[in-house]
């Protein structure tokens, strides 16, 4: 093939196939450039950054909605490789694109309600926010180990800056520094892991992983004694360390409480939800791409059980550590850790079922495990953002974020209290709130995986036990809000029923309830996204 032909083909591939399907990401890019340009020409008095950001996020949401409509209407799932196979465009990608754009829109709305950042810093802050989201979208669609690394970094670097955004606050700088140091370490380890995996398998293309893995396993003895497989396992473990950092799984969770405490509540909410969603998308893709490698089943089962062990440790530690916290953001940081543990349960169940050779067709069970994860993430968006929004709104009036600041709040801001109640009970996992349905789906998947490996029953037992543990600290906050009387000298929190703030948090709470009483709104979508990924494999 001639060089010029190659170039022509590349241009054709990029402009005709890839770019149209890359529209959502392009929306974000354009918005970033626009915001910076507006400030360059001093037009930000006329057009504040938050307006541009809202419009940009809304455009991204519309775009992903159109992609969703187009893709989910088709009878058989399709996947298209973009940019010569670096990215992949399928139902799963689109689900996460829509998820992240919706979340971006909600976060921008929240920040413009709470006034963080101020007008001066607006363009900086929103560029970072949009940049991080862009990285997370790439995480959800990456199809190559190289892209995996770039996407994770793309999402991480703006996040570091956002954590330290409250300039002049010691805790913010401390949190950001911890986050950076940890992040850099994790990225290094992950990159090393990628090189090991790519080196053993001879490819960085994730769609070829299972095929190559099978070839490597067939070469050697097949068991874990095989040096090549052992190298691969080591590489996999290192990649997992990088992802575990993003997911704040134990023992890579240390940054999380400090970063959350230092960051503003809005940023903490963003980090706890969006970066988790991106990392889960990536983890699922990685696991699915290795599935079905003949000869490596023992390795993969061990990987699945290992994920289960991490999940047990993560949720137990998160829930126990949350109990002693006085700072609400710190408390929610530990709750975030615990919830990452719950969600890893689903991935663990999925991997164990995929690597079970004795079982027949597992695609339905695997899809329902993934459906549980996707549904949980979707509910988690609303319930966690709701909780952080309430903290942010209270902080705007009391300048504090401790449990003491919400003591007896029911007498002054009943709307905020009711929203907090809905979000917290949903986080515990009680019906009729959405968190229950998500938890039920995940528990059911884990129980179902018990027939593949009996360790799953242990995992389930710990999941249930943790649900009971977690009640303690959530209800401690609610008890302070509802049952105690407000201090005489506490600053008032005058949030009226008829105000934008109330409307915003009530919308979030409304979605939490809607997802609990009418799960089919989302469960069918989540199911078809999951099924598409499983069937395409």
């Amino acid at each position: 093939m001639l060089f010029s032909q190659l170039i022509t083909k590349l241009i054709q591939d990029t402009t005709e196939k890839s770019l149209p399907l890359f529209g959502v990401e392009l929306c974000l890019c354009v918005t970033i450039v626009l915001m910076l340009l507006v400030r360059l020409f001093s037009a930000d008095r006329v057009l504040p950054a938050c307006i541009t950001a809202v419009v940009g996020a809304a455009a991204a949401l519309t775009c992903s909605w159109l992609q969703y409509r187009e893709l989910f209407a088709q009878s058989a799932p399709v996947s298209t490789e973009l940019f010569t196979g670096l990215l992949i465009h399928d139902n799963f990608t689109v689900y996460f694109r829509a998820f992240l754009s919706l979340f971006l829109l909600l976060t921008v709305a929240l920040t413009s309600l709470t006034g963080i950042p101020d007008e001066e810093d607006g363009p900086d802050f929103y560029s970072l926010l949009f940049g991080a989201t862009l990285g997370m979208m790439l995480m959800a669609s990456s199809n190559s180990l190289l892209m995996l690394f770039i996407a994770v970094e793309m999402a991480s670097v703006p996040s570091y800056a956002m954590v330290g955004f409250l300039k002049g606050q010691k805790s913010a700088s401390e949190g950001a520094l911890k986050y950076v140091v940890y992040g850099a370490g994790a990225a290094g380890v992950m990159l090393y892991g990628i090189s090991l995996v790519a080196g053993t398998l001879g490819t960085a293309d994730m769609s070829l992983l299972s095929e190559r893995l099978a070839a490597v396993a067939a070469d050697g003895s097949g068991g874990l004694g095989d040096p090549e497989l052992r190298t691969f396992a080591l590489g996999l473990l290192m990649i997992l360390a990088g992802l575990a950092f993003k997911l704040s799984l134990v023992p890579f969770h240390f940054w999380c409480p400090d970063a959350f405490e230092g960051a503003s509540a809005e940023v903490a909410g963003f980090l706890s939800i969006a970066s988790k969603a991106g990392a889960f998308a990536l983890l699922v893709r990685l696991c699915i791409s290795m599935a079905g490698a003949e000869g490596a089943e023992t390795l993969l089962t061990a990987f699945g059980v290992g994920l289960g062990v991490i999940s047990i440790i993560t949720m137990t530690l998160g829930n126990l550590a949350a109990y002693g916290q006085d700072n609400l953001k710190r408390l929610l940081a530990y709750s975030t850790i615990a919830h990452a543990g719950y969600m890893v349960m689903a991935v663990s169940a999925m991997v164990v079922m995929l690597s079970d050779t004795a079982a027949g067709d597992v695609s339905r069970s695997v899809a329902s495990a993934m459906e549980g994860l996707l549904y949980y993430l979707f509910v988690y968006l609303f319930m966690n953002l709701g909780a952080f929004a309430v903290i942010a709104l209270v902080r705007n009036h009391t300048y504090g974020e401790t449990i003491g600041d919400v003591r007896g709040l029911i007498s002054q801001a009943p709307v905020l209290c009711v929203v907090m109640l809905v979000c917290f009970f949903s986080l515990v996992g009680l019906p009729p709130f959405g968190g229950f349905v998500g938890k039920f789906f995940i528990f059911a998947a884990v129980f179902n995986a018990g027939s593949s490996h009996s360790f799953m029953y242990v995992l389930l037992a710990f999941g249930c036990l943790n649900t009971v543990f977690s009640l303690f600290y959530y209800i401690r906050v609610l008890k302070t809000m509802f049952l105690e009387t407000r201090d005489e000298d506490a600053r008032p929190v005058p949030v009226q029923f008829a105000s934008w703030e109330s409307a915003f948090v009530l919308t979030l709470a409304g979605f939490v309830i809607l997802l609990g009483v009418a799960p089919y709104v989302m469960s069918t979508t989540a199911n078809s996204a999951a099924q598409a990924l499983v069937m395409l494999q």
Binding site: L430, F443, A444, A461, C464, K479, L483, P519, S523
Partner: protein
């Protein structure tokens, strides 16, 4: 009326009523109270209409089924039979009476009423749903209002009591969740996998679960329900919750919430894992008898009037567990022995649930009436109320006698049925259970003596003791009349309950026999 509409209205009418409370002016507490009373009364009337529509011979009255979560085969499936119908009517009645007793609540009235009506919706839902998932959702939905009703409007140690109640129930329901998943996957995740009627049918044919799995599932379910019942040793939440809750909520707790434990055992645990239930029969009987004796002794030791009534609930609910569990089989053939006695025990247990619903609701109300006046509950600082409040004291004595199990009042029938049928299971245990009646008489008579008899009142706030008002008299009189009617003519209930209970018992016996047959075959194949 169309059963689907009627059953759905029973659940959702209180919820709609709660939502409409939001449009009232917050200052106008009187109007809100009357509105809520109206809502509970209409719900009660509808439950009576349902009683009128129900024909005991037809078995289960099923409503149309609606989709809820199709991908998980969860349906909105309601229905009622002779086991749940009396409990539905009891819920309607106790809710109305408790609402009438709620005039003493003066703090955050609107919040109280909204939570109260939500609680009623949850309770109705538990008794009416025939889909396991739906049942579980309603079971949990009640937790939230109950936590706040105890935690905000309760007594001095309300926060501790509320969290304890919440935690115990949540722990139990998590176990129930695991059992639910077991049933779902064992039955293949088909559209009948949460259908309690279909699951019971399959269990009775012996095609649902293996015998060893049945034991696991039954134990999980039983712990969950025993917490609610409550049976020793998981009863410790009850004295705290009952004592700290405000009077109307204590009435609901004792009158309805405890019955959910018994109902769950008879509706879910027994029919779905008959072999497991039979396997655990001895343990359950032992727990039941121990609860009777333990509760009675604990009640004897109390000086707090309300705590005494709370422990009497532990003792009385022990009879329910005992009546359910006296199921004896021939170990080799798997045939149920003395099937008539077991059914009598089941009938007695069901009757005891309703009777306890009437008598304990009344006892808690009576304690509340005097507490509203003198603001203390110390048994040693009462006395002489008979002279000061004659009508109140008379009715209180009547309701306490109903709790005691005096012949002619409702408590007698249930206890006697259970004790007689226990004799066929194990005469020594029957004697022990019967001796519980003596202890019951002991603590109730002693309490009556200390509170109502005597020359004069010896406690604080003597000047506030006024005769009971019309509202209080009406509530007490309704309960008193019911106690007498049920005691004199128990067939009102038995006619409705008996066919359903017989069907349940026969299906369970068959299921157990099938399971034992399977076990025999398994053993034979191993030996070969």
């Amino acid at each position: 009326m169309n059963p689907f509409l009627l059953l759905s209205l029973l659940i959702f009418l209180p919820l709609i009523g709660a939502l409409l409370l939001l449009i009232f002016d917050e200052k106008n507490t009187e109007a809100m109270r009357f509105w809520s009373l109206g809502v509970t009364l209409v719900t009660f009337i509808m439950s009576v209409v349902l009683w009128g529509q129900y024909d005991p011979a037809q078995g289960m009255l099923l409503a149309d089924v609606a989709d809820w979560v199709p991908s998980w085969n969860v349906y909105y499936r309601l229905g009622v039979d002779g086991i749940s119908l009396p409990l539905v009517v009891l819920t309607g009645l106790v809710s109305s009476l408790a609402m009438a007793a709620s005039w003493s609540i003066t703090k955050h009235v609107r919040g109280y009423l909204i939570l109260f009506l939500m609680l009623e919706a949850g309770m109705m839902g538990v008794f009416l749903s025939l889909d396991f998932f739906l049942f579980y959702v309603f079971w949990e939905v009640m937790l939230l209002p109950m936590y706040f009703l105890i935690g905000v409007w309760g007594g001095p140690r309300r926060e501790y009591a509320a969290i304890k109640f919440f935690l115990y129930t949540l722990a139990g329901s998590v176990l129930m969740l695991i059992a639910m998943l077991m049933f779902y996957f064992v039955s293949g995740g088909t559209e009948d996998s949460f259908n309690l009627v279909a699951l019971a049918q399959r269990a009775s044919e012996g095609t649902l679960m293996s015998p060893s799995m049945q034991i696991t599932a039954f134990i999980l379910l039983f712990i969950g329900f025993a917490i609610k019942l409550p049976a020793f040793p998981v009863h410790t939440w009850l004295p705290d919750a009952h004592v700290e809750a405000p009077t109307p909520i204590s009435m609901i707790l004792a009158g309805v919430l405890l019955k959910m434990g018994g109902y769950g055992i008879i509706r879910i645990a027994f029919p779905l894992c008959p072999y497991g239930a039979q396997y655990c029969a001895w343990a359950m009987v032992a727990i039941g008898v121990f609860s009777i004796i333990y509760g009675a002794f604990a009640a004897l030791a109390q000086t707090d009037f309300k705590r005494l009534v709370a422990y009497s609930s532990v003792s009385h609910m022990g009879y329910v567990l005992l009546g359910l569990a006296i199921w004896k089989i021939n170990e080799t053939t798997g045939e149920t022995l003395n099937s008539d006695y077991w059914q009598m025990g089941l009938n007695g247990a069901m009757f005891q649930m309703i009777a306890h619903g009437v008598s304990s609701t009344g006892m808690f109300f009576m304690v509340g009436v005097i507490y509203d006046r003198v603001h203390h509950r110390d048994l040693n600082k009462f006395g002489g109320l008979m002279g000061l409040m004659p009508l109140y004291s008379g009715m209180a004595a009547g309701l306490f006698f109903a709790g005691l199990g005096l012949p002619g009042l409702c408590g007698f029938i249930g206890e006697v049925f259970v004790v007689i049928s226990t004799w066929s299971f194990s005469p020594p245990l029957a004697i022990l259970a019967a001796s519980g009646v003596i202890l019951t008489a002991g603590y109730i008579l002693w309490a009556l003596q200390r509170v109502y008899l005597g020359a004069e009142y010896r406690g604080p706030h003597a000047e506030d003791i006024t005769p009971s008002n019309g509202r209080e008299n009406a509530v007490a009189a309704i309960l008193m009349v019911l106690a007498v009617v049920l005691g004199v003519y128990p067939a009102v209930l038995f006619d409705v309950m008996e066919p359903s209970i017989r069907a349940m018992a026969e299906a369970s016996a068959e299921g157990c026999q099938n399971a034992i047959f399977q076990l025999d075959q398994l053993q034979a194949s191993i030996q070969r």
